[in-house]
Symmetry: C2
Subunit: 284 residues, 2 copies
C-alpha cells in the first residue's frame, strides 16, 4: 500500500494517537484477539491488538525499562520473577539483564503474540533462549492462583487494557494470588494506564492491592508515545513494607547493562508524584 | 457538525495526535497565521495554529506550569519577567502567581491569539488585568534586542515551533539579546519540543545558548498530550552559574498558590535526565 496512517481512537478519552505506515506486515485473528503488524515509516514495526497499539520498535524501551528495572531494583535479591502477559518478550529481556535473576517465567495467554514478536520484533526476543527463561502459554490468573506460597520475588503484570482477556488481572482476587505467591519483601508491578485519563482505574487498582494485603503503592509515570495521551504508568506494591524510596540506588547506578531511559535518577524522579497525583492518592 | 476528530499529523516524526471535536468555534486567517478553535468532547476548547495544536483547556496546565515555575524558582528574586510569545496568556497567569514579580511583559506578535484566548480560554486570561501585567503586540525578537542591558530577571520564550514567525527565536543572535537583557543570575527558559523526536533541535538550541554566553543548560521533560509524541520539554539557561540544582526548593514547597503538576519534587525530578538525554548531552 502507499503511505497511510494507522490511528487508534481512544473513545473513553476522546483522544487519538497515530503513526504513518507503509505496509501491513501481518493480520490474523487468534483464539483470543485480532493481531495486526504494520511497518511504520518512523517507529519501526508496530503491533496492534484489537485496534489498540501494543508496541513499536522505536518507543517500547520506555515501557519495558520502566516495567522492569524499578521493580527489580526495589527488591533486595530478585531471583525468581514471574511475568504475566508480556508476550512480546521485551519485559523478559529486561528482566534477564539482571544477573541476580535465576528463573524468569513469562505466562502469556496467546502464543501467537510471542510467535509474531519473534518474527517482527526479534530484538525483543533475543533473551528467549536464555537458560533462565521459561515461556509458558496459559492463563496467567490461574498460574498465579496455583503458585506455591512465597515462591516468587517479583511479579510483573504486563498486560493489555483491563477489558477482554486482561480484565481479571485488575482486581483483588488476582492481587491476593500475587500476595500469597510473593515471598517476604516481594514486589508486584503492573502497567496502570494513563494518569491523565485513567485516574479512577489507578485508584481502584491501588485500593484493591491494599485490600489484598499490600501496604502503600507507588505509581510511576513515564512517557509512551504509542499509548493514549502519550503518558503512561506502572504501579508498584511491596509485601511487608511501604517504603519505595530505599531501592538499591547504588546497584542501579552501577548496573552492568545499558539502558536508554532508566537510570537511578530517573527511578528516584519517578517516585516524585505530580501534584494532581499527590492529591488523588492522599490517604492511600 | 456531528462528532469528528481533529488530528495533527506531524510529518517529521510520522506520528499524529488527535482529539474528538463536536464543533468549530472559530476560524480566521490573521496577518501571521491561520487560527482555528474547536470544541472538543473531552479536552475542552482546542486552539490550532497553522494546523498545529497549541492549547487545550484540559492539558495546558502541564505546559504552562513547567514553562514558568522551574524558571522562577531558579531565580533568587524574580521581579522583572518577559514572556516572548505566550499569546494565550496562560504563562502570564502562572508568572503572576509569584508575589515577587513586580512587572511581567507579554510580547506576542499576533494580537488575535490573545483576543481569541480571552473569548475561548477566559481562565487563562484571568490575570490579564493585574496591575503588574503589560500586554504588548509586537515582534519579540526586536523587543529583546532593544531591552536595556541587565533589565530583566527571567525571559520565557513560549513560542510556536521553529518555523514561520517563531524561527528567529531559536538562534544565537536571539539568545545574545536575552543574555544582554538579563541581569546577574538571570534565567532564560524556552519551550524545546519533544526530546523523543527533536533531539537535534534541542542540542542545537543548547549549543547556541552556550555560544551566546550562557553556561550549561538544563532540559526538563514533561507530559503534554496535545503535542507530538505526548512528551515535551523546556530548556533553561542561567547567566553566571551552571547550577540548576540549587533552586529555591523550600519556597517551591511552600508556594502560596495551587498547582496541578508542579511541586518541588517534580522540579527536582525533571532535572534528572533520562539515560538517552544524559548520553545526548554529554559534554554539553
Amino acid at each position: 500500500m502507499s503511505e497511510t496512517w494507522f490511528t487508534e481512537q481512544h473513545a473513553a478519552s476522546g483522544s487519538s494517537v497515530g503513526f504513518r505506515v507503509r505496509a501491513t506486515l501481518h493480520e490474523e485473528t487468534t483464539a483470543y484477539q485480532r493481531i495486526a503488524v504494520y511497518d511504520s515509516t518512523d517507529w519501526g514495526a508496530l503491533m496492534v491488538i484489537d485496534g489498540c497499539m501494543m508496541v513499536t520498535a522505536r518507543d517500547n524501551f520506555l515501557y519495558h525499562e520502566m516495567m522492569t528495572h524499578p521493580a527489580l531494583y526495589t527488591h533486595s535479591t530478585p531471583r525468581r520473577v514471574v511475568i504475566i502477559g508480556g508476550g512480546d518478550c521485551g519485559t523478559l529481556r529486561e528482566v534477564l539483564r539482571h544477573r541476580e535473576v535465576e528463573h524468569a517465567v513469562q505466562v502469556e495467554i496467546d502464543e501467537r503474540v510471542t510467535r509474531l514478536a519473534e518474527r517482527y520484533f526479534p530484538e525483543l526476543c533475543e533473551a528467549n533462549g536464555d537458560a533462565r527463561a521459561e515461556l509458558r502459554f496459559e492463563d496467567g490468573i490461574r498460574y498465579m492462583a496455583d503458585c506455591a506460597p512465597g515462591s516468587v520475588d517479583v511479579v510483573i503484570v504486563d498486560s493489555t487494557d483491563p477489558v477482554g482477556p486482561a480484565e481479571g488481572l485488575f482486581n483483588e482476587a488476582f492481587y491476593r494470588s500475587c500476595f500469597r505467591a510473593l515471598g517476604a519483601g516481594g514486589v508486584l508491578v503492573q502497567q496502570s494506564e494513563s494518569p491523565l485519563v485513567h485516574l479512577d482505574l489507578i485508584r481502584s487498582m491501588r485500593a484493591a492491592m491494599r485490600r489484598a494485603g499490600f501496604g502503600a503503592c507507588a505509581t510511576l509515570p513515564f512517557p509512551q508515545p504509542s499509548y493514549p495521551t502519550g503518558w503512561w504508568s506502572c504501579t508498584l506494591a511491596r509485601k511487608g513494607t511501604d517504603d519505595f524510596a530505599d531501592f538499591r540506588a547504588a546497584d542501579a547506578a552501577a548496573r552492568p547493562f545499558t539502558t536508554r531511559y532508566y537510570n537511578a535518577g530517573v527511578h528516584r524522579a519517578a517516585l516524585s508524584a505530580p501534584e494532581f497525583l499527590v492529591q488523588a492518592f492522599a490517604g492511600g
